[in-house]
Amino acid sequence: MAIDRQKVIDDLSKIKVCGNADGIIPAFGVLVNQLPANFWNVFSMKILKAAGDSLYDDAAGLLENAGSECGYHTGWGIINSEEFKSVVGPMIKKETALEDTLHGAFAVFTAWGWAKAEIVELIPGEKMVVRAYDYYEADVKDSFKPKKPFAYMISGVSRAFMDIAYGDKPYPDGFGKFKCKQTKAIECGDSYGEFLITK
C-alpha cells in the first residue's frame, strides 16, 4: 500500500474548523457542523427505542441511509479537496489510484474522529472489509444495549466510499451499488467493529 496512513492522520487531524461570520462552515462542497458526538447517539437510541421491534429495522435503515448519503457527498468533497490532494495526493500511485484513494479516505475518516478504522481487505470493485477499533457509535453500550450492531454511520459511509470508487457511474450518479453488513460490534461485546461491503 502506497498510503502512509499515520502521516495522513497526523497531518489531517490538526485541521480545525469553526463557523464563519454567519455561523456556517462551508467546506468540502457541503455545510459542516461539529455537534457533540453524543447528540447523534442519543437521538438514534431514542428513535430506535420508540420504534420497538415492529419498526426497528425501518428506523435503522434510515439511520444507515443518512450515513451513506453523507459518505457519498462528503466523501467526494474530501477526496477532491485541496487538503486531500496536498497530503494524500503525492502518495497515490497511478496503477493503484482507486485503491490508494480508498485507503487515504479511511485515513481521513480516522483523522476526523468518525472512527479509528482501516481497510483490512480489498478486492477492487467487489469487496471491502473495514475494521474499526474505536468509534463513537459504540459509546451507546454504556446506556443502551443494542440487540444488533449500531454503527449505522460507519456502515453507510463505508458502502458510499465503495460507490465513489467502483460505482456503475461516476459521482454523482453511482450511488447505491454496494451494501454493508456490520459483522462485529464493540457495542455488542466484540473487541472491534467489522464491516463487510459487497455488491
Partner: protein
C-alpha cells in the same frame, strides 16, 4: 461572532477522537443532518421531532453549562451571547437570544440552509435541533433544566423566511 468563543481543541491520538472544550465532538455534513431531521419529521408515530429536540437539549446543555462555569460567566446577557457564540462556532448558524423577551431570532441556520440546499423549501419548520439548543441555552443561562422550557419555532428559514423566529417560555 465565532471569534468570541473560547475553544480548546484536543485530539486523542490513541482513540482518534476530537474534543471541543472537553466534549467529544464530530464533524458531520448537511446531508447527514438533513436526513436525520427528515427521519425525525416523518416519524410522527414515534414523536420523532420531539425525540430530536430532546436529544439536542440533553446533549448541548452540559457543554454550555461547563463553558459558563469554566469561564466564570455569571451575567445572563453575557451568557446568552456566549451561547450564541457556541452555536456559531460549531457551525449551527447565527442566533440572537433574548430571554427577557422570551424570543430568539436566527438569521442563519445550518439545519434550514442544509435542508434547502438538499430539497428546497420545507412545508413546515424543521429546526428541531435548534429548538433543543435553545432549551439547553435557556436552562444553562438561568441555572435551570432544559425540560423546564418550551421552545416553538414560529417562522422558518426552511419555509422561505429571511430569518427563523422562536418563542421561549418557561413551563
Amino acid at each position: 461572532m465565532s471569534n468570541t468563543f473560547q475553544a480548546q481543541h484536543k485530539f486523542d491520538p490513541a482513540a482518534m477522537r476530537h474534543y471541543l472544550n472537553g466534549e467529544l465532538s464530530v464533524l458531520h455534513c448537511h446531508h447527514y443532518t438533513a436526513l436525520f431531521t427528515q427521519l425525525a419529521n416523518d416519524a410522527k408515530l414515534l414523536k420523532g421531532a420531539q425525540q430530536m429536540t430532546e436529544a439536542a437539549a440533553e446533549t448541548m446543555f452540559p457543554p454550555l453549562q461547563k463553558y459558563f462555569k469554566d469561564n466564570q460567566i455569571i451575567d445572563k446577557k453575557i451568557r446568552a451571547e456566549a451561547a450564541s457564540a457556541y452555536f456559531a462556532y460549531i457551525g449551527l448558524g447565527k442566533v440572537q437570544i433574548d430571554l427577557e423577551a422570551g424570543k430568539a431570532i436566527m438569521t442563519h441556520s445550518h439545519i434550514d440552509e442544509g435542508w434547502k440546499k438538499k430539497w428546497g423549501n420545507a412545508a413546515k419548520s424543521i429546526n428541531f435541533i435548534g429548538q433543543g439548543f435553545l432549551m439547553a441555552a435557556a436552562a444553562a443561562i438561568e441555572n435551570s433544566t432544559p425540560s423546564a422550557y418550551n421552545v416553538d419555532e414560529t417562522e422558518s428559514i426552511a419555509c422561505g423566511k429571511n430569518a427563523s423566529k422562536f418563542t421561549i417560555t418557561k413551563k
